[in-house]
Symmetry: C2
Subunit: 210 residues, 2 copies
């Protein structure tokens, strides 16, 4: 399984901006456009043009002298950089409000992730399908990860359950956890965790309210 193809070190800030460029370029390609300048992207993202230019150069986006970046080539460069050119299968654990919302989020596929199964302990949820994704009992998690050879899990469980489930995930061979539970997970070296914190965005908003 190949996750991504870059070698250079690229900053987290650049990486977090890439999906914005990707969505815009895909939209523009849909209109039949072939070239986009860093100024075009800067206008649409409210970022300085020099930031856009450096970001795109960092992932090896192809440009045409004085005409800007080639849209199709730039889309490919970003997708290749992030490993989003190969759809990766993932399991989601915890089908509460947020888990259900993520299963219904169309955007995940454009971001390289396909949810193939979900897990929960709730008798009302187990055995159903949510947005077309089958829900299994958490007791089946280990055997299903092992048989499918999955590497990525999305964790949307209450914080009390998060570490115990993480231990099971790691034991079963999961290498990447996208964690929405408000708790820091302990994982061994070689396993990556991306922590999402809804409170962080809200804190930023409140601090801007001068």
């Amino acid at each position: 399984m190949r996750f991504f193809g870059h070698k250079k070190t690229v900053s987290v800030q650049t990486i977090r901006r890439l999906p914005q460029y990707l969505r815009l370029l895909q939209e523009w390609r849909g209109y039949g456009r072939e070239l986009a300048s860093s100024t075009d992207l800067a206008d649409a993202t409210h970022l300085p043009a020099i930031v856009v230019k450096k970001d795109l150069q960092a992932v090896g986006a192809p440009s045409k002298r004085r005409s800007g970046f080639k849209i199709t080539g730039t889309i490919e460069a970003i997708e290749n950089f992030l490993g989003w050119d190969n759809l990766k299968k993932a399991f989601l654990i915890g089908v509460g409000h947020l888990g259900g919302a993520l299963l219904g989020f169309e955007g995940l596929k454009t971001h390289g992730l396909e949810m193939v199964a979900a897990f929960d302990t709730h008798p009302e949820r187990v055995g159903t399908q949510i947005h077309g994704v089958p829900v299994y009992h958490t007791a089946q998690l280990k055997s299903m990860i092992e048989s499918k050879g999955l590497k990525i899990a999305v964790l949307t469980v209450p914080k009390e359950a998060a570490q115990g489930l993480t231990d099971t995930l790691v034991d079963s061979g999961i290498k990447a956890i996208w964690n929405f539970a408000p708790v820091k997970l302990r994982v061994p070296e070689g396993v990556v965790v991306q922590q999402e914190d809804i409170g962080a965005g809200l804190a930023e908003l409140c601090s801007k309210l001068h």
Copy 2:
């Protein structure tokens, strides 16, 4: 309406870390603890102790020499800094998957936000209650913002609808928009936008998968 009480400039990174400290300190206070060292918080958050210490000092957390920070005083300092000591009322626009999940998210109140009404155009949703929050038709948005004097709106609509609704929100007196639509909003000076991008976290996760 007072949003927050700090004067110093504090970095965005610090601000985004504050909710983590707040949740831990509230939990520890619940166990009857009175003091916490920066090392305690560093262990629980996987951050360097010096970072924790500087963050807490930046918001004026009270400490006791050689014994660490006073938990209750530090909670108050963070809540005061973020303006989370006063519950702020907000409207949510767009009751799809994500909007519904946010309405059901218990954590919002501990983060200082109370959802008092939601808006949608879907006939099946208008007139219902979702997680106890009444859903009105979007046509009523302007008059209800004006009559309630609200300042904060949460935008969870499809991207095509986001700018048009933003114009209505701004016209009606909204000063802060927490935007989950994947599009940059144009707002006049004096209105703040906090942009959330689910793709950004996923991009970061994928880039960590070496």
